[in-house]
């Protein structure tokens, strides 16, 4: 059965390694913070200027001066630090953040990503996404395998305006975990529980490599 949003987040959380600084985008990526494995210490960076971001505040303890990049009220954990936007993107560009998780509208089998603009619709802007994808050494895209029209979001080439080129290394969808090898395309690594390889093949428009045993995710 296809994963729900929390399932995708839970699977991505398994990728966390001890000592990593992590930037989580808006939407599914934000949920990853709820599933940090035991024994793993990570710190969350939000590009509006905080490291050591904690959970939402208790009711009545919201502080208008403490928000995340999604403009949600948050808290700061012990050891947190606050800084300006130039320093924040400085640490992003200088690759001090080990993992960036973000959503996407389309991903290509060469690692291109499109997630900021749909021609003809109101364009809200790229925010920090272009900076993040241009610099992060490790980007995981969290998204549905298909869009609302049932079309694959894993393509041979993005049709929408790009956010970045050749930057995505791993995609976790409701159906599968896939690595991206720019030479070969999407490499199928794991299936969602109960999802068949055939379904994944059918719903992946870009080049897909299926090699050997493809295990089910263990969540």
């Amino acid at each position: 059965m296809a994963l729900d949003k929390n399932g995708i987040a839970r699977r991505i959380a398994q990728e966390l390694r001890n000592g990593w600084y992590v930037n989580l985008g808006i939407g599914i990526p934000t949920l990853v913070a709820n599933y940090i494995p035991d024994g793993i210490d990570v710190e969350f960076q939000s590009e509006n200027g905080i490291l050591g971001m904690g959970p939402f505040p208790f009711e009545g303890e919201e502080d208008a001066d403490l928000i995340n990049a999604g403009k949600q009220t948050i808290t700061a954990l012990p050891g947190a630090s606050l800084f300006d936007s130039a320093t924040s993107f400085g640490m992003i560009r200088a690759r001090k953040v080990q993992l960036t998780v973000l959503g996407a509208m389309e991903v290509s089998d060469r690692g291109d990503i499109a997630n900021w603009k749909i021609p003809g619709r109101m364009v809200k802007g790229m925010g920090g996404a272009m900076d993040l994808v241009a610099s992060a050494e490790r980007i995981i895209v969290a998204m549905q395998h298909s869009n609302r029209e049932g079309e694959s979001k894993l393509l041979s080439a993005c049709t929408l305006p790009l956010t970045g080129v050749g930057c995505v290394k791993k995609v976790v969808t409701d159906l599968a975990v896939l690595d991206i090898d720019p030479e070969r395309g999407f490499i199928l690594r794991e299936r969602a529980p109960g999802v068949s390889i055939d379904e994944i093949v059918a719903k992946t428009a870009g080049r897909l490599v299926v090699e050997g045993e493809i295990p089910e995710m263990s969540l």
Partner: protein, 233 residues
Amino acid sequence: MIRKVVANADVALEGIQDGMTLMVGGFGLCGIPENLIAALRQRGTRNLTCISNNAGVDGFGLGLLLETRQIRKMISSYVGENDEFERQMLSGELEVELIPQGTLAERCRAAGAGIPAFYTPAGFGTEVAEGKEIRMFGGKPHLLEHAFDADFALVKAWKGDEAGNLIFKGTARNFNPMMAMAGRITIAEVEELVPAGTLDPNSIHVPGIFVHRIFQGGHFEKRIEQRTVRPRA
């Protein structure tokens, strides 16, 4: 000591004219110069170009200046939690230039640091790169980006002193320090204005040399855009 204190927001805005370029601090509604925006609306200055990460919401932040059609152009990284903004943009009344957030921050920082231009990887291979010089560094393509040039910077700090030194609180810091450093004339509104010598000189976020005018804001609403809480266990 060089004193920077002015009486209020209206006095602080002296010299702001139609057609000028302003930097306006804040991320969403967090850390925006509320009093200066209100005073600017009162003054009715028009045809403004605003460099600001976001464009406020309907009825608050820069949304107040959009309502009165005082802004001709927005330079931002993310906009559109704002119906009036969308209407003006789609109708062509408002020009919008979208810039990656880190590039926006660094172009402010460059202006305040006297660096006319720098290279950044953000935006390579996207429409942001169109018309820009591309150069390889370390085997990776980068775009040449230029420092902003703003007539005025309007920023909001938590505490400030008579010498213009500023301290920010929480994530209300965001773009404010770089914009404060970048403006040809920088105006700071603060929640608390204290005598010189009160703030720890080690803890100043923006040295007073960058701030031309400072005043204590009369009223701060500090509206929250997304109030998220967790249940008490």
